[in-house]
Structures are given as structure tokens and as C-alpha cells.
């Protein structure tokens, strides 16, 4: 194999966003990085697909011999995400993109609106999530007196400073539950619902009675508010042009520019160990569109960082992950904006679990041609939730479908298992990431990135600031 080193500091398996961020940062730290994917494209589960690839990923969505994608225009005008997530404008991923100058490779558009549903069925109200004291006074989500209580709550959150106990409002924020905070402001159940689920973005109600969780909840509401104010949008979210699949590709380029080696279309044949710790890999790089057997190679490595799909093969006896939940998801193609979103080109709608008698929230993420993910006139809406039943999954998503009106095309399969590693990796030096979870943003993804770095390197990750690095910028 041409120019392959005999040993690497780290071999990464899978080019999902988590692995690509780590690859980029480790290459900047001048570690010797080899990054492998079994697929012929970047992104793994966080890739974006063109319309033909999307139909082919859901073979039940059409009859054999048909080519339903032909009626949707140029295939490459479509970049449909597999993971229904958005970026918090003031969140950790956005900050990482800015600091590492990965923003050189990818451009962003705001998501136009952030909405929440109150009630269910025909009488449901869908309204903008108020994020400021003044917006609370205008919100149709609350009655007259509740509006004033909510305004007082938002003012308190706005002024809250972790380091200044005088802003705690007489509460012991280190000890108390969020229920005590809500009680203090006298907020009604539906108000607690949209605050906890559409602003703090909790997916269940477990946070309410958890001792000491109030501070984190306030942090989350502040992140939401700061993100709304960050860019000229009306939601706290931004989104990369050409789809989320651009993000792993951009961090992969950062890694490559800093010396990381990339190999797609490569199967791992064997993981080698010495004294219980990983010592190397044997792999085969296939040749695209040829029937040849490919090129086998081996190399030594001190560590492996991998997505869970690389350590989940019971036949090979290498299972190092466990299933923690199942994500239910339907990708819908529409030819109209979604009702009650002010004809927005994009939006997030959250249906809090209690409003529709569930344990987990239902999320709807809507993007369109302004994000260069589909031709003009189309909208892509992904409805998702954590599966609660053993079947009838369609019914679990139905409250989401009810919001969408006429659906041209619906892509849906059985729920997707979400995995977490069994061990932290310190025993065998194999560090495994978590599946992309059901949250509507990437904050848990960057938490996982930081956790993997901590486990693998034994210290906190510091995102390198490349904005002042003269070697990285071109001559003006």
C-alpha cells in the first residue's frame, strides 16, 4: 500500500460526525491518524443522501423495476439527512466549527421558526416558542395571568448567573428540583411542558423531580435564548447548506489538511491485540465498481476510536455495545410549507409527550430548497421519536404526520437501535461512540466527543483555535 505508515497513534472506524470531529482535532494535535470507513461515502449514519439513494435505502417504498426518483428532478439536487438534527446557534458544535475554521468549508442558513404543540388532534394549537419575557406576553400558548407568570419566570432565567447566588431568587439551585422552581413561579402544566421540552429540550419529564437538575435546566433555557439571539433568525437553530452530511466531510477535510489519512470502502478483517490491548488492524480496501478482491493491508495502532456499528457483530464475537433505545423516524417529502408555521421555509415543531399521551416527545424538523437539500417547491420533514411499543410504529408518529398535511412520499422502516459502549475503553484502548440519539440538536454529540477524548487521552479536550493560525489561511 502506497505511503501507509507502519504504525498510527489512532485508527478511527466510521466517518460519522463524532469520529470526524475527533479525527480533525487529533490531527491538529499532530497525532498520526488513519481514518477508515467501510462505506464508499463519508458520514455513516450522519450522511445525507440523494433522492435515488434514499429510495434505495427504503426498498419497501417502491415496487421492483420502478424508478420513482425520476419524477423528483436532478438526483443530486437532493441531500436528505438520515439524522433529524439541527445545530444550536450558540451551542458547542457551532463554537467548535468556528474555532477550528471548519466554517471555511461549509455555509449555514437559519432555521426560520421553532414551534411547540399544545393539546392534540383537531383542537391542537401550534405556536411559536416564546423565548423572551416580551414574547411570553404575546403567546397564544398561555392565558392572561399565566402570561405574566411566564414573563416573570423568563426575566429570572435571563438574569440568572451561576456564579452569583443573589440571582438565584431565594432558591437553593444546587439542591432543589425544577418542580420547586416551577412551583415558585406558579406555572401551569402546559407552560412547564413547553419550557421543559421545547426550550430546555428534555425528551421526557424525568428532569422535573431530579434533585439538583434545576441549574442544568436553567442553563439549557439560557442556551436556547442565547441561540435565538445569535443570528437573524426566529429560531435558535442553524443548518448547513447541502445538508448535515457536509459536517463530517468538513471535519474530515480539516483532518486531511493536517496530515490525517483517509480510506473509504475499506473493510476491517481483524482487530489485533497484545496483552488485552489493541495493537493493530488487518483490513481490505476494495476497488470501487470492480470485482477484484481489493488490497489487504495491516498496520499497528495504539488506539481505536469507532462508531458502535464496528463492534456489534456477534458472529465475530466482537460485541462491545448494548442497545439502549430505538429511534422511530419517518422522512416525508412535501410540496407545501407546514401549516401554522407562518409559511416558513424551515422549522422545528416539538410535540411534548404529555400533550399526546406519550412518554417521549415527537420532533418534526423541516428544511427546504433554501438549504440546498431539495429542488424548489419541495420540503423535507422528518418526524421522529423514541419507540415505545413493539409494533404499530406508524401510530406512534401519527401526531407528527397530522401536522404535515398532504405527504408526497413517506420513507419509514422499523425503529433504529441506538447503541452505547459497554465499557469506557480504558481496558483495551478501543473507544466507542454512542449512536446519534433522539435529541433535536448536536449538543449530546459534542458531549460524546469530549467524553471519548477524555477516555482516550486521559485529559479534557481543548478545541484548538485555528483562527489566528497564519499557516492555515491563504494569501490575501
Amino acid at each position: 500500500m502506497e505511503e501507509l505508515a507502519p504504525e498510527y497513534d489512532v485508527v478511527l472506524l466510521g466517518t460519522g460526525l463524532t469520529e470526524c470531529i475527533l479525527s480533525g482535532i487529533m490531527s491538529v494535535e499532530e497525532k498520526k491518524v488513519l481514518h477508515i470507513d467501510r462505506n464508499d461515502h463519508y458520514g455513516g449514519e450522519s450522511a445525507s443522501l440523494n433522492i435515488e439513494a434514499l429510495f434505495k435505502k427504503y426498498p419497501d417504498s417502491y415496487s421492483k423495476g420502478e424508478e420513482p426518483w425520476m419524477k423528483y428532478g436532478r438526483g443530486n439536487d437532493w441531500n436528505v439527512d438520515l439524522v433529524p438534527k439541527l445545530l444550536m446557534a450558540n451551542g458547542d458544535l457551532t463554537k467548535t466549527l468556528i474555532k477550528t475554521k471548519v466554517t471555511d468549508y461549509v455555509e449555514f442558513e437559519p432555521i426560520a421558526g421553532s414551534y411547540v404543540q399544545k393539546g392534540s388532534g383537531a383542537t391542537a394549537t401550534v405556536a411559536k416558542v416564546p423565548s423572551k419575557p416580551t414574547e411570553a406576553l404575546l403567546s397564544p400558548l398561555m392565558g392572561l395571568f399565566e402570561k405574566r407568570r411566564a414573563k416573570r419566570f423568563f426575566e429570572w432565567v435571563r438574569d440568572f448567573k451561576d456564579e452569583d447566588p443573589s440571582t438565584y431568587g431565594g432558591l437553593d439551585l444546587n439542591q432543589c428540583t425544577m418542580k420547586e422552581v416551577y412551583d415558585k413561579f406558579g406555572l401551569e402544566a402546559t407552560t412547564r411542558d413547553f419550557i421543559g421540552h421545547a426550550m430546555a429540550l428534555y425528551q421526557t419529564d424525568a428532569y422535573i423531580n431530579q434533585k439538583g437538575a434545576a441549574k442544568e435546566t436553567v442553563d439549557r433555557i439560557q442556551l436556547y435564548g442565547n441561540s435565538v439571539n445569535q443570528y437573524p433568525g426566529k429560531s435558535p437553530y442553524i443548518y448547513p447548506l447541502y445538508g448535515l452530511g457536509e459536517l463530517p466531510q468538513s471535519f474530515a477535510r480539516l483532518s486531511a489538511v493536517r496530515g490525517g489519512t483517509y480510506m473509504l470502502n475499506t473493510n476491517i478483517d481483524e482487530i489485533e491485540y497484545e496483552g488485552g490491548k489493541v495493537s493493530g488492524i488487518k483490513a481490505t480496501m476494495r476497488v470501487r465498481s470492480e470485482d477484484s478482491e481489493g488490497t489487504m493491508f495491516s498496520t499497528k495502532t495504539k488506539k481505536i476510536i469507532a462508531d458502535p456499528t464496528y463492534f456489534n457483530d456477534a458472529n465475530k464475537g466482537n460485541v462491545k455495545v448494548k442497545q439502549v433505545a430505538k429511534l422511530l423516524k419517518a422522512i416525508c417529502i412535501l410540496t407545501h410549507p407546514v401549516a401554522n408555521t407562518n409559511n416558513s421555509d424551515s422549522a422545528q415543531i416539538i410535540i411534548p409527550q404529555s400533550q399526546v399521551g406519550r412518554k417521549n416527545d415527537i420532533y418534526i424538523a423541516i428544511v427546504s430548497s433554501v438549504h440546498h437539500v431539495c429542488p424548489q417547491g419541495y420540503y423535507i420533514a422528518i418526524v421522529s421519536t423514541i419507540a415505545e411499543g413493539k409494533d404499530n410504529w406508524h401510530l406512534e408518529l401519527q401526531p407528527g404526520f397530522d401536522r404535515l398535511g398532504k405527504i408526497e412520499e413517506k420513507f419509514m422502516k422499523e425503529p433504529i437501535p441506538l447503541y452505547e459502549p459497554l465499557e469506557d475503553g480504558r481496558n483495551d484502548n478501543i473507544f466507542i461512540s454512542k449512536s446519534y440519539d433522539a435529541t433535536s440538536h448536536f449538543e449530546t454529540t459534542t458531549e460524546d466527543v469530549r467524553d471519548i477524548y477524555r477516555r482516550a487521552e486521559g485529559k479534557e479536550m481543548v478545541v484548538p483555535d485555528l483562527r489566528l493560525d497564519a499557516n492555515l489561511v491563504g494569501q490575501e
Binding site: 455555509e107 449555514f108 477535510r253 489519512t261 483517509y262 483562527r467 491563504g474 494569501q475
Partner: protein, 218 residues
């Protein structure tokens, strides 16, 4: 960063920016060509990556017209066929490089041209560059691909064609100037360009309103 045409300080002056991508087999001199064009330097023992996100260089076509290239190197991702679609995305022009002393490198160049026609914008302008002409000037027997053969292929495929030397600078500026002259200046900023017609989110460090207050891009 995005492609755009803007009027300069003087009436009638035009400034346009375009994304240019480099392609070709490893070690044919892609990065060296760029380094010669951008910094007028050459290094016999260059490492295979240049370590830059992209480099920029401007060319004045005439008194009133300036073209700025944003030049993307493969960063070695072509080595194991691992270039990402993002690399081709919105490229306005491409330089496909081969080594005139290596017969197989023209075959590789031809497959990169096909890949560009599959992946890139329909209207992309492609130039074929037969590099290392200095080696042949010293030792004519080292030539493995005749000028006529490469030229015939370039004509057939509708490519600009130059034999270049990053080492002596022969035809390097001419190559980029020819590309600049062929670019659709009057359309830049409208169709197929990186420009974003909407008021988007600008996260780049130099943008006002982001945390890059102290950052310098010079």
C-alpha cells in the same frame, strides 16, 4: 469567500471570485503548481500535503477586471479514492494534473475528468496540465506522453491544455490566466456560484457578530 462580482472603486471595474479544485494522481505536482502560482516558490522535497484550508491568488485580466481564485488542494484525500463530494461542490474550475514523464498519470487524469463531469457543476471549466516539462527539457528521452496525444485528448474532451513546470514556472501563470479568461464573469454571483442570495448565517471568524472579534485573516 463566496464567488461574487462586485464593482471596484473605479467605475466599470469588476472583481470576481471563483473556487478552483486540483485533481490528479499523487506526486504529479498539484501542490507545487499552486505554490508556484500563489507564492512563486518551488521546493524539490515538498511533503505531500500543504497544510492549508485553501490558498487564494488574484489575477488582473485587464485594467478593469480582477479574478480571485480560491484554490483547494486535495489534502491527500485522492490517494485512496476518498475525496468527498464537498470538495467538488460549487467548484467553478478545475486543474487536472498529470506528469508528462509518467504514462499512467494521463490515464488517471482522464478518469478524474470523468469524475468531475459526474460530480461537479455542469459548466465547470477544466484545464489539463502536463507538469514537469523541466525534466523533459533536460532529458528529452524522459518524456512518456507526447504533446500531440495530450492535446488531442484535451481538444476532444473540451479542456484547456498546457504543459507546465512548477519548477521553472513555465506556463504556470498562463494556465491560470487562460482559466480566468474562460470563466463566466458576467454570471458570477448568479448561477452555480458559491454566492448565497439570501441573508445567511456567516460563521466565519472575520464576520461581524461572531466570536472572532480578535481574529485576523491576513
Amino acid at each position: 469567500m463566496s464567488s461574487r462580482v462586485s464593482t471596484g472603486a473605479r467605475p466599470g471595474a469588476r472583481f470576481a471570485q471563483f473556487k478552483l479544485v486540483l485533481l490528479g494522481e499523487s506526486a504529479v505536482g498539484k501542490s507545487s503548481l499552486v505554490l508556484r502560482f500563489v507564492k512563486d516558490q518551488f521546493d524539490d522535497y515538498r511533503e505531500s500535503t500543504i497544510g492549508a484550508a485553501f490558498l487564494t491568488q488574484t489575477i488582473s485580466l485587464d485594467d478593469a477586471t480582477t479574478v480571485k481564485f480560491e484554490i483547494w488542494d486535495t489534502a491527500g484525500q485522492e490517494r485512496y479514492k476518498s475525496l468527498a463530494p464537498m470538495y467538488y461542490r460549487n467548484a467553478n474550475c478545475a486543474v487536472v494534473v498529470y506528469d508528462i514523464t509518467q504514462a499512467s498519470s494521463l490515464d488517471k487524469a482522464k478518469s478524474w475528468v470523468k469524475e468531475l463531469q459526474r460530480q461537479a457543476n455542469e459548466n465547470i471549466i477544466i484545464a489539463l496540465a502536463g507538469n514537469k516539462s523541466d525534466l523533459v527539457a533536460e532529458h528529452p528521452d524522459k518524456r512518456a506522453i507526447t504533446t500531440a496525444d495530450a492535446e488531442a485528448y484535451a481538444r476532444e474532451a473540451g479542456l484547456l491544455f498546457f504543459e507546465t513546470s512548477a519548477k521553472t514556472a513555465e506556463n504556470v501563470r498562463e494556465l491560470f490566466t487562460a482559466i480566468a479568461r474562460k470563466l463566466p464573469l458576467e454570471q458570477a454571483g448568479n448561477r452555480g456560484m458559491r454566492a448565497n442570495p439570501r441573508q445567511g448565517v456567516d460563521l466565519r471568524p472575520e464576520a461581524p457578530g461572531t466570536q472572532g472579534g480578535g481574529a485576523c485573516n491576513c
